[in-house]
Subunit: 765 residues, 2 copies
């Protein structure tokens, strides 16, 4: 009740203060369908900001392998939903947003009518199973709400969610054969082979608890649930698809029908009801990473006694609160949708991973109590260190600190004593390269958003960077670079380690640790070791010091590089662009070189080896659909021709972000792609997190007011803004002209006004 | 240190007070090898009294099924060890004692020398794996200690255990190829197919943690460990036998050698050492049902800083304390060994199932805090309600109350709201029939050993007895018997339900619940419904009220009966033998009938259908090797010729209990068989737990002093005792002649002296 009141007053507050321009509701501009087609890998379902539950429709059942062979199809279904699909299998409670690898899909629920079907059926013959055809015409996707008509069952499905509870409302036709299917076998990434154990209990005729252990991308993972039904079941039962021959004494009495517990690797459960025309069934499913006891607590704390509509209202108000942190006015309405949807996507993760009482599962698989912080998980750090966590240092400083504390807890509990690489749900999946917890921590420390144990965090960074057995680090330390014959993708690793090490050096300096500063500054220059001045590119080197012979800078994926070719990756010295430019022949030569990236033609044969992006994700050979080049366009700020960045930024914003299901040119990567959009739209970008400077670009907004958590407002204004006026002729900060190409974080956090004077002509010096 | 001091003073205490007869150490008379051959199903390894760890050698790897077909071989290996075997596979940490069904076998450890072998090999070719040949000549099995020479590896293995920690001492030859194998795949009952998930971490070079989830007889079970080594490993690694194709990013760097974590369904781990001649490696493996954190606490609390010898001494003193509760003098030395080994076996279980901090896993799979009691598990109740729990009401009253509180916790956490049937390790395995938590509770309540919430315990009994969907109870309630066409083994169930219901009635009476008393007294007469006066036997009845046509009272296993034939089971009305005798034609006819049970010849064709016992477990058609007839010989006390019991009891004691590996005629059944021995040796037996009376028999001891927990002593003296003087001519209690055939529990607990005057001639009235 108390929570209800608080949020209701929020609601009043927001409608009251929303007086920027017209009375704008940011939720009108959130379209969760954006990115749900092709490579975007976003999900359209319902979730609260940073919520532990992501309740969303899944549109097919994809096995990891067929006849023992990996097919690659699972990649397409990272978020469980593909816009082109014609059927919905059901609604599961956990989804990654925008990732290029996947997992989750816990506890799929599907309402059906007619004779009981416990098999999902196939997309081409949905009538062979419990799945249903659907049409996008009946879909309504909002922040915190999703609706669709399940045609085969004549059921309207609506979803909403609190932080820890997924809430379903199903409106049935009249039937004495209504069913709710709970498919404990279903999972994303390896459809029905991922579950290692399931356990369920019918606590009473409206309450079910249970858990599922999976071996997916998270190697060792268990999720618990408590599910309440608004109407008592008429009957229920389960079917198990047993692997183990031993049945114990289970044959002695009927344990598949109206018997209140079941456990097996493979279980599908059904709950049966009589339904009147238009009668609604509300299902509230609370999750917990800890126990069914924890799930029950979460259910009680967040959803008990609240109607579907009340929960939807509470969650949408929570979204309003988050999205109103930036009040924006764009040139036209589609840009408003891009902007607020990008904010929405940026605020989907990392996700909360603890019960209401603060208990969570650690990477040591023990239960821990979060003391003085909220525990978060799903750190897609190779992506999100670039712009998402820097964005959080502006828009979500408190949460960003808690995320870092969560990373520190991971470090404490890690047997390696390493900070996360790519971690989710009490697991390290080791995805991608580098140790990019380091720039996240460094960025917070250097920007003064670090109300945590900085000395300990610094020590954790150093220890992580010195884990010799991890991914070539030992050789990197000994030889100054990762040799390709010892560790694949050696150049990418060398470059990213060098940048991470620079971040450590910056913290060492701030903390007065001279020796470590020197050590890591030296390491940060390792990029020089892999620069081949003859070709003008970074190039893989062998442990004998010789270059790898075969070398085509456009075709180097897994030949020294990963998720990017040598052309793009060679520009990866974010911590010292000036030295890099010198190394590459000086400003003039570099300007032409960089410009050609955007104009050269990339033959199809090279594109085939480009990961995680569609053809739309590329401009020339500039790959925006994947992360290694996200800082690249801003490198013009270190040349004498920053204007060359400005039109390109606007071009990228237009080309790569469209308000459509296929509007994202590549994986959104848990908000990194969206964070790029947000910074760039506002006119500045953090080229090197760990530095306090933002490189200035070309704002796309007309006006934007950032309501900072410190109570101050920072306003961006673009005078004379239009689609043609993409060049910046002058920048004033609080009325004073900015002479450099940079804005400092301190100036931002102090509040004030940044005015860009826009023009259709570049300002050439 | 403190614990050490306490136990050291115990040691002094025991040696000081051990002045009964000669200065006897009861440990000299414990032979854990008794029952390890054939059907006894005891294990020879090391454990503390009621300990959570049972560290014992396992002598083969037995799959549940071969090519999908159950072979039955696993039955033989319920305790992991068979005396006839020539090889030891390794030493695992959990074992049932004497059961007829099995599970456990957690965390098998084996020390080896020479080239690394991660496969156990086979019994006929031990050199193909890590297992070793051994000889019984090198074995030394004591309470709390076990020793054997592993011939193939020239390693002496010694085992001891605290309550929660298994301790190994391996003495190696000189080698630079010493290995410790940790086989996470190994399990009892379904050798390498039981594990659903394993997880291990190398915390540092002498500490390993992890867990294993299994789907065995316990459907859903996880055991955690923390293992410390006395010497840092030189190197280590693991091999996994993966089921799931997806390896995540695990291929990027070597994660099988010296990489500190692993998880999979199937893992074997090796730790490598250099060893000098005679160098010892001490391994301390703590278990926890809760978490690796809990296991570490248990390790710290019970074993840290203590040498192998100190732990052995502590545990053996704990055994001395338990075994000294009865000081006994028998006719000859073999009987001393039988007596103390029976006590040893009686004190092996139920086993403690909680961490030192009181945390345990409940049947709801949540973690609970034991509040005001110690949590026990492994309740083989169909067996142990008969004599073991009644024995505990004499020798272990405090523990018995805690066991009942553990059963109540099970009830609280059970989704069925049922008391345990056969429960172990946070699971209900539903083994056997009846609801025999009820007599355990009733016996404690009626005997005044019930310092728990009696009203709640009573309500739990009633609720359990009214679970209509369980095993024919609905029909039993409605029709007054279980109809065979609805539920197999219907007569056995009807008879046992009737007895259990009588127990409920006794409690109802004591608690002044008249209506429930009447209801359950009526139910307790259900045995009359299945008595066929025409044949003179209990006989299966159909739901239409007609007898099952085909009926041979000797051949009725699974034809109306379970684990006993109609001949034996027809005598099962322990709560009202007088009425039963009337029903069966009166005392005279019954005496002849009962006598013939022991003298008739049972053709082999019938024996084939007798479960869980060897041919030695039968006298005539009297089956002592299984439980349904355990009270039968004492039924003579309700006739006019109680002397007919006396010689038979002495005959059973001699025939069924021998101080040899094959000395037990049937499964020891977690101490029930041993408890029968102990009561009968002392001269009395609890025919109907829930009654406060013991039926008098013929003592086998010369003298025995029971040191009761209430501080009083009860002494049994057999005057003129000998192997021939098996008849009782007179009994005096505290100098007063006992005229009935019964002794009351109150008289026992009041302390005093019970003197039997023995004779070679029966006292016929």
């Amino acid at each position: 009740m108390k929570m209800k009141q608080i949020i209701t007053s929020f609601f009043v507050l927001f409608t009251a203060i929303n007086v920027f321009g017209q009375a704008t509701d940011p939720l009108d501009y959130v379209d969760p369908m954006i990115g749900t087609a092709r490579m975007g890998h976003t999900y359209p379902g319902a979730t609260a900001p940073f919520g532990m539950v992501q309740l969303s429709p899944d549109t097919d059942t994809i096995p990891y392998a067929v006849n023992g062979k990996y097919t690659g199809d699972v990649y397409k279904y990272c978020a469980g939903y593909q816009y082109e699909d014609k059927t919905i299998v059901g609604f599961s409670h956990t989804h990654f947003s925008g990732t290029g690898h996947s997992d989750l899909g816990d506890f799929l629920i599907m309402p059906t009518v007619g004779s009981l079907q416990l098999n999902p059926g196939t997309s081409d013959k949905p009538e062979t199973g419990y799945r249903s055809r659907f049409s996008h015409d009946t879909e309504d996707a909002e922040a915190g709400y999703y609706k669709v008509q399940l045609d085969d069952h004549d059921i309207q499905a609506e979803l909403t969610a609190t932080t820890r509870v997924g809430v379903h409302r199903y409106t049935f036709p009249e039937t004495d054969e209504a069913h709710l299917i709970l498919d404990m076998m279903y999972g994303i990434y390896n459809y029905d082979e991922k579950t290692t154990w399931s356990f369920i209990r019918m606590e009473n005729d409206t309450l079910i608890t249970g858990y599922k252990s999976t071996n997916g991308w998270a190697r060792t993972r268990t999720m618990y649930f408590a599910m309440s039904l608004s109407k008592p079941v008429k009957s229920y039962g389960f079917k198990s698809f047993e692997k183990h021959p031993y049945k114990g004494f289970w044959g002695r009495f009927d344990q598949e029908n109206n018997f209140p517990e079941a456990a097996n690797e493979k279980i599908r459960v059904h709950f049966d009801f009589d339904m009147k025309e238009g009668e609604q069934l509300i299902v509230k499913m609370a999750l917990s990473p800890v126990s069914t006891e924890g799930a029950l607590k979460n259910l009680q704390a967040e959803a008990a006694g609240l109607s579907f509509d009340a929960i939807k209202r509470l969650t949408q108000n929570a979204w309003r609160k988050e999205l109103n942190k930036v009040e924006v006015k764009t040139i036209d309405e589609p840009e408003m949708t891009n902007f607020y949807t990008a904010m929405y996507h940026a605020f989907l993760g990392p996700t909360i991973y603890q019960d209401v009482d603060g208990k969570y599962k650690g990477i040591d698989q023990n239960i821990h109590q979060a003391d003085g912080f909220t525990n978060y998980t799903s750190f897609s750090l190779w992506d999100t260190y670039r712009a998402l966590h820097p964005l959080f240092n502006v828009l979500q400083p408190a949460r960003n600190q808690q995320m870092i504390q969560s990373m520190m807890a991971h470090y404490d509990q890690s047997v390696h004593k390493m900070l996360p690489i790519w971690s989710h749900h009490a697991n390290e999946n080791w995805c991608m390269i580098g140790y990019h917890s380091v720039p996240v921590i460094a960025d917070a420390v250097m920007k003064g958003n670090a109300d945590f144990d900085i000395e300990k965090a610094f020590a954790a960074c150093v220890q992580t960077a010195n884990t010799r057995y991890f991914d070539g680090i030992g050789d990197y330390i000994d030889m100054g670079y990762v040799p390709e014959d010892k560790s694949r993708a050696s150049v990418s690793k060398t470059l990213e380690y060098a940048y991470d090490d620079w971040c450590i050096a910056q913290m060492a300096k701030k903390l007065g640790k001279k020796e470590l500063y020197d050590e890591f500054m030296k390491r940060s220059e390792s990029y020089k070791q892999v620069y081949d001045s003859k070709t003008g590119f970074m190039r893989p080197k062998l442990s004998n010091g010789e270059w790898v012979e075969e070398f085509d800078p456009l075709d180097t994926h897994w030949k020294g590089f990963i998720e990017g070719n040598a052309w793009n990756y060679s520009l990866y010295v974010p911590h010292d662009p000036a030295s890099m430019i010198d190394m590459m022949g000086g400003k003039k030569q570099f300007t032409g070189h960089l410009d050609s990236l955007f104009t050269m033609e990339l033959p199809d044969k090279y594109f085939e080896h480009t990961e995680d992006i569609s053809r739309d994700g590329i401009i020339g050979n500039y790959v925006h659909g994947n992360e290694p080049s996200h800082h690249v366009v801003y490198l013009f700020d270190w040349t004498d021709e920053p204007w060359r960045a400005q039109n390109k930024i606007r071009m990228i914003l237009k080309a790569m972000y469209k308000p459509a299901s296929n509007g994202l040119g590549g994986n959104d990567d848990f908000g990194q792609m969206s964070a790029w959009y947000l910074f760039s739209s506002l006119g500045f970008y953090p080229v090197a997190p760990g530095s306090v400077d933002y490189a200035l670009g070309s704002p796309a907004v007309e006006e934007a007011t950032i309501h900072l958590e410190n109570g101050k407002d920072f306003k961006v204004v673009a005078k004379n803004q239009s689609d043609k006026n993409v060049y910046v002729s002058k920048v004033l900060l609080n009325g004073k002209e900015v002479k450099s190409n940079f804005l400092s974080h301190d100036d931002l956090m102090a509040g004030g006004e940044l005015v860009f004077y826009m023009s259709s002509k570049p300002k050439k010096k």
